[in-house]
Amino acid sequence: MLKIINKLFNYFLEWYMAIIIFLILIVFWQLLSYFKLIEPWLLPSPIDIIKELINSKKFMFYHTGVTAIEVISGFSLAILLGSIFGLMMNLSKVLQKSLLPYIIASQVIPIFALAPILIVWFGAGFISKIIVVFLISFFPIVIGVFDGLKNYDTDMENLLKTMGANKIQIYLKLRIKLALPSLFSGIKVSSVSSVIGAVVAEWIGSKAGLGWIMKVSGPLFQTDRVFASILLLSIFASILFYVVKLIEINLSTINKGV
């Protein structure tokens, strides 16, 4: 029991500044609308936002679910294909030379220009959203894998060779392990930008999702709803980020047992 209290206290010591800043901002924000310094339709108070969240919780959570599915599908696809492409570019110089320019070029196209076309092609449903999420999160992952696989230790590879290891075993036992930190940097960057991708795509053309809520609620002056969506979106993005971080810690090649 004492241990748990001690641990909580240590957490508090680490985080207390963040908590205090958060509380000050919230109180200040609440006071602004309490004294009617800012109209609620321009900036709803924190309590209004929470109220809106509770009143229309079914509606909000449904649309959060839609966005979450889009993000997770596109993001998973990006991790899968990003790893495969990164590995292929590492294995073959020809593939590297022929793929890399197109992968870079695909990043230069503004997603705002591409999304409407994708919606025309694939409709306003899930598929166009998944493609946008994929396109936005693919690049950091493929570069993360590609750069990570460049890390190698000649002595360790020689050691495996003297044990009779073939090329596949050298990749499985060593090179992929050495590539993990770089891969996870890419995945972490993507985990956040994939959420932005989904919202942008929903904004441009959709019938559901948090991006759609923001788009339709703004002009109706339902700012409390817009802010509630932003809140849910940041919570979802944070969870996604920390899940990735947790997996990274578990697979980590450094600091094991320390």
Binding site: D155, M156, K161, T162, M163, G164, K177, I254, N255
Partner: protein, 227 residues
């Protein structure tokens, strides 16, 4: 040059830094191939996977536990299932590391890591073992301990060791045959047999015979310098 390494003996290649000792081991192990001539093991020049090679760095994978590191060669060869854990434990015991099998390398001291690397090397199913100055990074007392452990384990396994070092005491302590390698040349000179019986204990380094060998080898090495 032509040389045959004898079975079940420890042969030490002694030479100045930079005379190509490590390169020779790389050649023997099969990591690199010779420009001219041939190196054969068991009548074939296919050497990778047949010779265990302990390099200067311990090269432990820090994402694997000590035990996983030690059995890595068995995993690679796919022979782990034929191998019993008690065998691993028994050899770990001889090296004094049976209690740290579940630790990660970064939790260990330098001497412990070298012993783990040595365990991994002898667990590899090969008749020849190459040691490239494996104890150069350790202090004198740790080294003496390790020599002792190596002597103990050599009693238990039937393997041929080829050791590379520039440390004369290490060469005498561990080997049956000492070869001096000439810098910048293609020749070995002076093959010397060390006839102290095994297993040798730390006390031998002050014995009369040991000191005599040391004097002779030192003279040889100084002569080499004047070549």
């Amino acid at each position: 040059m032509s040389f045959n390494f004898e079975e079940n003996k420890t042969t030490t290649i002694l030479g100045h830094s930079g005379c190509g000792k490590s390169t020779l081991l790389k050649l023997i192990s099969g990591i690199i191939d010779p420009n001219e001539g041939t190196i054969t093991v068991e009548n074939t020049s296919e050497r990778l996977g047949k010779i265990a090679y302990m390099q200067q760095r311990d090269l432990l994978f820090n994402w694997l536990t000590v035990k996983e590191n030690a059995i890595l060669p068995l995993r690679i060869m796919g022979t782990y299932k034929d191998f019993s854990d008690s065998d691993v434990l028994q050899k770990a015991k001889v090296l004094g590391i049976e209690n740290i099998l579940d630790y990660y390398p970064q939790q260990l001291s330098g001497g412990m890591k070298q012993r783990v690397a040595f365990l991994r090397t002898i667990l590899q199913d090969s008749d020849f073992i190459l040691l490239d100055e494996p104890f150069a990074s350790l202090d004198a007392i740790r080294r003496l301990e390790l020599y002792n452990w190596i002597e103990n384990i050599k009693e238990k396994i039937n393997k041929s060791f080829i050791l590379v070092t520039h440390d004369i005491e290490e060469a005498i302590y561990l080997s049956d045959i000492v070869i001096i390698m000439l810098p910048g040349s293609n020749n070995f000179i002076h093959v010397k047999n060390i006839t102290i019986p095994h297993p040798r204990k730390n006390a031998i380094i002050t014995s009369e015979k040991f000191v005599k060998y040391k004097k002779q080898l030192l003279e040889e090495l100084q002569n080499v310098k004047n070549y």
